[in-house]
C-alpha cells in the first residue's frame, strides 16, 4: 500500500490500499495448534502461499512469542481446542494485547462454536481440514485492520498528517522488514497523537468549533462503546479517539448530546433487536466467518459507530431480516440491536444488546459502522436491487432517529455469497452477501448508515470476510446543513448507486455526485434529520459524505467499477473524506483485490436505494428497498436506479426534520422491511 504522503490528499492516506507487488508474500503468520499433523500441514500450506510462517504447538508459548516480538507478526491462526489454553482465550489475549487479527480453526463446525469465535473477536473461522484456498486469502484481514487503523490516524489530524505520513513504502511492504517499521510507525504516530491530545491543546487545530463529521462521530461512538456508556467520560473518550486538536470540552458537549439521543432511542421496541439476534443466529454457521460477523462488527463497532442517528437508522434498517442468505452475516441490524449494542463490541448473538439504552447506539449494525447519516443506507445488492429509499422518508415521519433511511447494511457475507440482502425497507441494513463489500447505505434519512460490509465475495469464493466495516459512514459534514434545506439529506446518492443514484440525494448537492457512479461524493446527506433532531436542530449535517459507498464516487468513481462505488468510504465511519474513500476504493479496486474489508469498493451492486421511500419504509415496513443489484461479483455498475424519487426523499427528509426526532423509539421499524429482490 503506498501511501502517498501528501498531506493534503487524503487519498493516499486512506487508501493505503495499494500494496507492493509482492504482497501478500511475506506476511508473517503465527500458527498455533497442538496437533502436530495439522500444524505441519498448515506450515507447508502457508509456506506455499509465500507467507512467513512460525509454528507453535502451545498457546502459552505463542503468547510469549507475541509479547516478546510485538511487531513480529501480522496475523495469528489458532486452533480452538488446545490442551493448555482454550483457543478463545488466546484469541482474546491477542486481541487485547497485540490487536492482531486472529483466525480460529477447528474440526468442530457447530454453529455455537463458530458463533463463539465471532463473539470473541475472531476475524475468521476455518473448519478443519483446512484447505489451502482458505489460507490464500488471510492477508485480507491484515489489510483490513491496517486500513482501519490508517483511517483512524488519518482522520485524526490534519496537523499530524505531515508528521504522521507514513513513508510510502510503509504500508505496502509486507514482505519486507519494513513491515515492522510500518507497524511501529503507525503506532508511534498514534502515540504522538495521543500526546498531543493529552496536552489538550488546540494549538494544532485552531478551530474554535469542532465540526463533528461523520468520521469523527464514529470515532467518538466507538470510543464510547469501548468504554461503556456508563463509564464513558470525556477525558477517556478523548484519549481513545486520539484526535489531535480535539478538546475535552468538545467531547463533553458532544457526549451530552449523544446521551440525549440515546435516551430517546432507548424506546425502541425490543423485538427488533431480538430479531436481529435471532435472525443472526439463524445464520448458518459459516465455515469461515467472514469477517463480517465477527470482525466487521467489531471493526465497525470500533470504528465508531454510527452516530446515534445513524444508529437509529441502522436499527431500523438493519434489523430487518436476517434471513438473508445463509452466510450472510448480520443482515440488517435490527434496530434494537443496534442500539442496544452497548458494548463496544458488537457481538452477535451475544446478548446483542438490545439495550440500546446504554446509549451506545452505536453500531446498529454490529460492527457496522453506520454512518450517520441515516440517509445513507446503502444497499449492496448484487443484483440490482434497488433499495428503496430507505426510510428516508421514514425518518421524515418524525422518527426519532430519523433514520428512516433504511440502513442497508450489507454485510459482506463471507463465503462467496452472492446474496445481497438488502433490506432496505425501512432501513434495514441489508446484508449483502458477499459481493464484496457491499456498502450498505443506510439511507435512512437518519444517518444513513452505510454499512458496507466488506463483502468478501468478490470473485473469490473463499471466505471473504465481508467486512462490514463499511458501514458507510455518513459523513456528517456538520456544516452541511446548507445542503438540504433544513435537513440536507442528500440522500439521493445512495451510495453505490451508480447511475442515477442521484435520486437519493435529495439535495442537489449530493445528487450530482452520486449520479452515475455511485459516487457518493460528498456524502449524501443522509437522513440527517435525525441528527438534526438530535442536535436539537443544530445544523449538524451529518452528511453522508462518502459514505463508504461509492458515494464518494465523486472522487473516484472509478474506484469501484461497478457502479457501486460504494467505496469503502462508507466503510467504517472513518471519516474519510470522500476523497479518501475513493482513493481507497480506487486503490482497492486497483488492487484488484477483493474488497478489503468493508465494502471496499465492491462494485458489487451495492444497491443503495436509499431512501426511496423512507417514509414509507418506515411506516409500513414493507418497503422494499429496491436495490439494484449492484454487480454481483462482476461489479457491474449497476446502481440502482433510483427508486426513490428525489422528491420523495426530499420531502421525507424535510418532513422529518420538521417532525423532529420522533419519540425515541425509533420508529424505524425496519424489521418490516422486506427486501425484495435480494439477489442471490
Amino acid at each position: 500500500m503506498n501511501l502517498n504522503n501528501d498531506k493534503g490528499s487524503m487519498s493516499t492516506a486512506s487508501s493505503s490500499v495499494t500494496v507492493s507487488d509482492q504482497f501478500p508474500a511475506g506476511l508473517r503468520v503465527l500458527v498455533v495448534d497442538d496437533d502436530p499433523t495439522c500444524l505441519r500441514i498448515l506450515e507447508k500450506m502457508l509456506g506455499t502461499c509465500l507467507y512467513e510462517v512460525t509454528k507453535c504447538n502451545r498457546a502459552e508459548i505463542a503468547l510469549d512469542m507475541l509479547r516478546t516480538n510485538k511487531n513480529g507478526y501480522d496475523i495469528v491462526i489458532s486452533d480452538v481446542h488446545m490442551p493448555d489454553m482454550d483457543g478463545f482465550k488466546l484469541l482474546e489475549q491477542v486481541g487485547l494485547e497485540m490487536d492482531l487479527p486472529v483466525i480460529m480453526m477447528s474440526a468442530d463446525d457447530s454453529k455455537q462454536v463458530v458463533m463463539k469465535g465471532v463473539t470473541h473477536g475472531a476475524c475468521d473461522y476455518l473448519i478443519k481440514p483446512v484447505r489451502i484456498e482458505a489460507l490464500k486469502n488471510i492477508w485480507q484481514h491484515v489489510v483490513r485492520k491496517r486500513k482501519n487503523e490508517w483511517k483512524d490516524l488519518e482522520q485524526s489530524g490534519s496537523v499530524e498528517e505531515g508528521d504522521r505520513q507514513p513513508k510510502p513504502s510503509e504500508e505496502a511492504d509486507y514482505s519486507s522488514s519494513a513491515n515492522e517499521g510500518n507497524w511501529r510507525t503507525s503506532k508511534r504516530r498514534k502515540d504522538e497523537e495521543e500526546e498531543i491530545e493529552e496536552r489538550d491543546d488546540t494549538s494544532t487545530l485552531k478551530k474554535p468549533r469542532v465540526v463533528w463529521s461523520v468520521e469523527l462521530h464514529q470515532q467518538f461512538v466507538s470510543a464510547v462503546n469501548q468504554l461503556g456508556i456508563d463509564k464513558a467520560v470525556p477525558k477517556k473518550i478523548l484519549e481513545l479517539m486520539n484526535v489531535p486538536g480535539l478538546t475535552r470540552e468538545n467531547v463533553a458537549s458532544h457526549l451530552q448530546k449523544y446521551r440525549l439521543y440515546l435516551r430517546r432511542l432507548s424506546g425502541v421496541s425490543p423485538h427488533q433487536g431480538n430479531s436481529f439476534i435471532s435472525s443472526h443466529s439463524q445464520e448458518p454457521p459459516y465455515g469461515s466467518l467472514s469477517s463480517l460477523s465477527g470482525l466487521d462488527f467489531q471493526t465497525l463497532a470500533a470504528t465508531g459507530q454510527i452516530p446515534a442517528q445513524s444508529l437509529a437508522t441502522l436499527q431500523a434498517a438493519g434489523l430487518a431480516r436476517s434471513a438473508a442468505k445463509p452466510g450472510l452475516p448480520m443482515p440488517l441490524v435490527d434496530q434494537r440491536n443496534i442500539f442496544s449494542f452497548d458494548n463496544q463490541k458488537l457481538r452477535f448473538g451475544e446478548g446483542q444488546p438490545q439495550h440500546m439504552s446504554s446509549g451506545k447506539q452505536m453500531n446498529l449494525l454490529h460492527g457496522i459502522p453506520t454512518t450517520m447519516d441515516s440517509k445513507q443506507l446503502v444497499n449492496l445488492h448484487h443484483s440490482a436491487q434497488s433499495l428503496g429509499s430507505l426510510n428516508m422518508q421514514a425518518s421524515a415521519h418524525g422518527n426519532p432517529s430519523g433514520q428512516s433511511s433504511p440502513l442497508l447494511m450489507q454485510m459482506a457475507q463471507p463465503q462467496s455469497r452472492g446474496q445481497i440482502l438488502t433490506e432496505t425497507s425501512g432501513g434495514q441494513v441489508p446484508r449483502l452477501p458477499t459481493s464484496v463489500g457491499h456498502p450498505i447505505l443506510s439511507n435512512g434519512a437518519a444517518g444513513a448508515m452505510l454499512a458496507i460490509n466488506g463483502i468478501g465475495e468478490n470473485s473469490r469464493g473463499t471466505g471473504y470476510n465481508s467486512v462490514s466495516q463499511t458501514s458507510s459512514v455518513l459523513n456528517f459534514p456538520l456544516n452541511h446543513s446548507a445542503e438540504l434545506p433544513g435537513n440536507s439529506f442528500p440522500l439521493g446518492s445512495t451510495p453505490g448507486i451508480s447511475a442515477g443514484m442521484s435520486t437519493l440525494t435529495t439535495k442537489g448537492g449530493f445528487q450530482e455526485e452520486i449520479n452515475s457512479d455511485i459516487k457518493g461524493s460528498g456524502g449524501f446527506m443522509p437522513s440527517y434529520d435525525i441528527f438534526n433532531d438530535l442536535q436539537q436542530h443544530k445544523p449538524h449535517n451529518w452528511e453522508l459524505q462518502n459514505v463508504g459507498f461509492a458515494f464518494d464516487a465523486s472522487q473516484h468513481s472509478n474506484s469501484l467499477q461497478a457502479s457501486v462505488d460504494v467505496t469503502p468510504s462508507v466503510l467504517v465511519n472513518q471519516g474519510y473524506s470522500s476523497s479518501q474513500r475513493n482513493v481507497q476504493n480506487s486503490n482497492v479496486s486497483a488492487m484488484g483485490k477483493p474488497i478489503f474489508s468493508v465494502g471496499e469498493g465492491s462494485e458489487h451492486g451495492i444497491a443503495l436505494n436509499v431512501g426511496q421511500h423512507l417514509n414509507s419504509l418506515l411506516v409500513d415496513n414493507s418497503t422494499r428497498v429496491k436495490s439494484e443489484r449492484v454487480t454481483d461479483t462482476s461489479c457491474q455498475p449497476t446502481l440502482l436506479p433510483q427508486h426513490f424519487g428525489q422528491e420523495d426523499l426530499m420531502s421525507a427528509i424535510l418532513k422529518q426534520q420538521q417532525d423532529g426526532l420522533g419519540p425515541a423509539e425509533n420508529d424505524f421499524e425496519f424489521d418490516g422491511y422486506s427486501l425484495d429482490n435480494i439477489p442471490v
Binding site: 497442538d34 496437533d35 507447508k44 474440526a107 489451502i132
Partner: protein, 144 residues
C-alpha cells in the same frame, strides 16, 4: 515388475484406498500438491506424524477408559483431537469410528465406548498397513 506395472499397481492401490473409504481422495491430493522438490516426501512425513500422534492419543484413550469412574469429558476431548488429526490426512474410516465413540461418550455409555475404541484401533491398524504398502509401492515405482 516393470515400471509400467508398478505404476499400475500404485494406481490400483490408490484407487481402492479411496473406493473402500479408507482415505479421502481430496485430502490426499491436497497433501500431494504440497509436495515439491524442497519437500519430496511431504506426504509420508505428514503420515508419520499422524502415526505418532495417533499412537499417543490411543494410549491416552486406553488409560482414560481404564480409570474409574470413566471421565467422559476427557475422552471427548481426546477424541476431538483424534478426529482433527484424522481429517488432516483424510483418514475416513478411523474418523468415523471416532465419531461413533463420541456418541457413546456423550451418552455416558462406557461399554459402548470400549467397543468403539476397539473399532478405532482396528481401523487405524488397517489403514496403517494399507498406507505403508502403498507408499512402498510408490517408492518402487519411482525407482523403476
Amino acid at each position: 515388475m516393470n515400471s509400467n506395472q508398478l505404476q499400475h499397481q500404485v494406481l490400483y492401490m490408490r484407487r481402492s484406498l479411496f473406493d473402500q473409504g479408507y482415505l479421502d481422495s481430496e485430502q490426499l491430493i491436497q497433501l500431494e500438491d504440497l509436495q515439491d522438490d524442497a519437500n519430496p516426501n511431504f506426504v509420508e512425513e505428514v503420515v508419520s506424524l499422524f502415526y505418532s500422534d495417533s499412537a499417543r492419543l490411543i494410549q491416552n484413550i486406553e488409560q482414560t477408559l481404564s480409570n474409574r469412574p470413566v471421565d467422559f469429558s476427557r475422552l471427548d476431548d481426546i477424541l476431538h483431537q483424534f478426529k482433527g488429526s484424522c481429517s488432516s490426512i483424510g483418514a475416513k474410516k478411523v474418523k468415523d469410528a471416532c465419531s461413533q465413540f463420541r456418541e457413546y461418550c456423550n451418552a455416558g455409555n462406557a461399554e459402548g465406548c470400549s467397543r468403539s475404541f476397539q473399532l478405532i484401533k482396528q481401523e487405524y491398524e488397517t489403514l496403517r498397513r494399507r498406507l505403508e504398502s502403498y507408499f512402498q509401492m510408490v517408492k518402487q515405482a519411482k525407482a523403476a
